[in-house]
Amino acid sequence: MNDTKIRIASLEQVFASDDEEAVHGAIISHLVAKNPLSELVDVARKTEWRFVLTRNDVEVARRDELKSWYQELVDQVADSIPALEAAERGGSPFARLEARDIAADYCETVTADATRLCRFLFPEDGFPNASDDIEKLLSRTGLKWDGAHTIEREPGEYDRLFQEAVNVLAAREANRNQRGAQFS
């Protein structure tokens, strides 16, 4: 019983620090010595440290850092919206495609990272919900993210826009060839 108390006290001490390596090491030693996982959970809960255990390793991260990182990625999506709106308001098909691709990239990044973050957090920390956050941000543009690489009004609309861009280029090229013929 005394051993348990000492063990927990020393875990608490390490978890109170911001030394990632020490926390990482303490978790490994704790588990290698076959001590209960519940002790780690109880100690971590009272601190900023969160962890994931894989077969061969422990990944550790701080809750405050995970949360502020997530917020940065959401802001990145938010910052891409004005350009998206401007392009939709009267940009060429090329400008519209480009603005959408950039925003879709940010949507992907925030979603992939939200999945990673959720693996670390306790339920009571609150899980980030990337698809909700993205939907809210995009709502005023009338556009939707398809969950992968595309932002469009409805399924298939991006493809039509792309074809429009190809047609513009083809027309330009035909025009050039015609003019070339006139001068020769």
Binding site: L31, V41, V52, R55, P123, V166, L169, E173
Partner: protein, 187 residues
């Protein structure tokens, strides 16, 4: 402490669940009750099951190695498919339409490659050292692209690898494209 006996009992319960098909539920109960991870290791040793303990020790995700490898293979297949649409085009004077159509293919190839990267890191967390042997036959996106003369920049695009015989490769892809009835630009 009676914990040792309980340990045997818990291992037995989980082992039975493995056979009965409700392993995921039982093992989640085990972890959320705060029991030792070493017991889960013991139960899964020598089986198809792999796990990652998430949410700071309060949750566990279990997967069979077969399902994990299947997901990896699917991601590799998507890169292969995307790579098959890549064509070497005239480096000196590609026409706009061909370029535009290829930009899309190249972006798609880059996306498939980054999806594979993501799959690799997600699946990698579950794997044991010996599992990697089963993955050696799976190609990396680097190998797949190199075979068709491309290189992924790690971001949103793949680029042609410049080589002395670019002209020959270009003529080859054009011939192949014509065979397949693909219309390339307006030339």
């Amino acid at each position: 402490m009676p914990q040792e006996n309980n340990s045997e009992h818990r291992i037995e319960v989980m082992t039975r669940a493995l056979v009965a098909g409700d392993f995921a539920t039982k093992v989640k109960e085990h972890i959320s009750a705060g029991y030792p991870v070493t017991e889960v290791v013991k139960v899964t040793e020598g089986t198809e099951w792999r796990f990652v303990i998430t949410n700071s020790g309060t949750n566990i995700e279990v997967e069979t190695i077969g399902a994990l490898i299947g997901r990896w293979e699917a991601a590799v297949a998507r890169v292969e498919d995307a790579a098959s649409h890549l064509i070497v085009h005239d480096m000196d004077h590609p026409d706009d339409v061909t370029q535009m159509l290829q930009i899309r293919r190249r972006t798609q190839a880059a996306h498939a490659a980054s999806d594979l990267d993501l799959a690799e890191s997600r699946i990698g967390r579950y794997l044991r050292a010996e599992d990697h042997l089963r993955l050696t036959s799976l190609q990396s996106s680097e190998e797949i692209f190199e075979r068709v003369g491309f290189h992924w920049n790690g971001g949103d695009c793949v680029q042609e690898i410049w080589s002395e015989d670019h002209k020959r490769k270009y003529e080859q892809t054009m011939a192949k494209a014509r065979e397949r009835g693909v219309v390339l630009g307006t030339h």
